[in-house]
Amino acid sequence: MSNAVEIVDLHKSFGELQVLKGINASVKTGEVICIIGPSGSGKSTLLRCVNLLEQPNAGQVIVHGVDLTHRDVDIDAARRRLGMVFQSFNLFPHLSVLDNVTISQRKVLGRGRAEAEKIARNNLEKVGVGEKARAFPAQLSGGQQQRVAIARALSMDPQVMLFDEPTSALDPELVGEVLTVMRQLADEGMTMLVVTHEMQFAKEVADKVLFMDGGYVIEQGPAAQVIGAPQHERTKTFLRRVLDPTHLDVTE
């Protein structure tokens, strides 16, 4: 089976600031990749370049054989192949949960109301918020909102799901419900790129972990290897800080 996503020598700058300095990575169909790294290392930018929310300066992003960075590509059509879940949920506050999940099915895919609602309800059931279909986003907890956002993305039948720190904005008690849904998705064979700080999730669910720093991929490999036995000094420092935060030197 060919690669689901192939990232070739991707570069991205904001003005003077070079954020991605040549990223190469590939994701096989059905694989889960976790991207870890310190703040500002370019993780979000990488994910946003993959579905072209940011226009890369150079390099290619190829999804199931289609080069999204080709200048004649229909970007809207191409983007439909990728579902994105944001740190801040980004549900549409003026629409009910059901409308959040049906609006793009109807307006973009041209599905009828009945069909769209059926698909929406299925997906809402799947992420455990089936009974909230009539509620508005402001009436939901953060964990519920994020699960609705996942259902919304799934309803567009994406080939790949992108997650950008989906649990960072959540109360600790609510992190679990979102991670559980993600684990379940992974088990069902969804191809996923996940930026996360949840090391336990990465260890247990990821097929591959990718450690980024300063715009480069420093280290990548199976989770057990990158998290359990990191090779690079920077990776080691990062992991020690994140995994054992109470035992550092102040002056470090």
């Binding site: 579905n51 929310l53 809207d76 059509a77 983007r79 439909r80 990728l82 579902g83 994105m84 944001f86 801040s88 980004n90 549900l91 549409f92 506050p93 003026h94 609006i103 793009s104 307006k107 973009v108 895919l109 402001a138 956002a149 919304r152 993305a153 567009m156």
Partner: protein, 280 residues
């Protein structure tokens, strides 16, 4: 329970025994109340009350203004304000769309318009519409004179402000909303119309209501372009009547009539704003 007030003083309270902060506060409040009452008393005693009453609250002078105050002046004030508002709204919306367009010349035209009309006094714009344009374009007629002149003059200015309001409203919708819509495969314009604009509309309701208040007040300028008796608004009626009776009461009556509209609208604006702040 420790209740020995000597142990209550903190490190900074020094040596001397003092009043507790609560008692000090009470004393200060009492003192301020006293001062205020005294000031009020002085004001009442020194100022010639009957003179003020006669000048500012002369019942007869006020009576003269009825019913024209409502049937003519307030009616015209509302007509002027609302018609300018409608024009400003439509033009402002167009300007805002141009300002947000990806086609640069549209942006330039809109920007130039906004900068100019926000920088000019409404009075000057009214004069240019009322006198300047008809001179330049011979035979230019305003069939609904003065209503159309006022609507255009004040509306042109209001459009500049409203355009900025619309733009700010669109830009105040969190960028994540547009990104989420795009990432679901919506085109830019589809995302704008289905996701961003509906949210922007709610955001701009308070500033747009505020603009209506501004126009109510700006309608006081219309007498500069020449109006008939039937076209008088509140300020003109007030000043005409004040002049007739050589008394300030008509100013007060006209002012109170403005407040009848502007204060409730202002309260509405602040309610809406507070609600928005809360829901965020």
């Amino acid at each position: 329970m420790a209740d020995s007030s000597t142990t209550l003083a903190g490190p900074a309270s020094g040596g001397a025994r003092k009043l507790s902060p609560r008692k000090r506060r009470q004393l200060s409040l009492a003192a301020q109340s006293l001062v205020l009452v005294a000031l009020l008393a002085i004001l009442i005693l020194t100022v010639d009350g009957s003179k003020i009453q006669k000048s500012f609250f002369d019942f007869k002078a006020a009576q003269n203004m009825f019913p024209a105050l409502f049937t003519v002046a307030l009616k015209n004030t509302i007509i002027y304000a609302v018609s300018a508002y409608v024009l400003g709204f439509v033009l402002g919306l167009i300007l805002a769309l141009m300002r947000l367009s990806s086609f640069a010349p549209y942006r330039w035209i809109s920007l130039a318009y906004i900068e100019i009309f926000r920088g000019l006094p409404a009075l000057l714009v009214l004069m240019i519409i009322g006198f300047g344009l008809p001179i330049a374009f011979d035979g230019l007629q305003f069939p609904l004179d003065p209503y159309d002149k006022v609507a255009i003059g004040l509306g042109l200015v209001a459009a500049a402000y409203m355009a900025e309001t619309f733009r700010a409203g669109v830009q105040a919708v969190p960028p994540g909303q547009l990104e989420a819509a795009r990432s679901l495969g919506m085109s830019h314009s589809r995302a704008m119309f289905s996701i961003v604009l509906p949210q922007a509309v709610r955001l701009v309701i308070p500033p747009l209501t505020n603009e209506l208040i501004v126009l109510f007040k700006d309608s006081s300028l219309v007498s500069v372009i020449g109006i008939t008796l039937a076209g008088r608004e509140l300020t003109k009626l007030g000043s005409d009547e004040a002049i007739k009776v050589a008394n300030s009461t008509p100013f007060v009556v006209a002012g109170a009539t403005y407040l009848l509209i502007t204060i409730p609208l202002g309260i509405l604006v602040r309610r809406l704003e507070a609600k928005q702040r809360k829901s965020r």
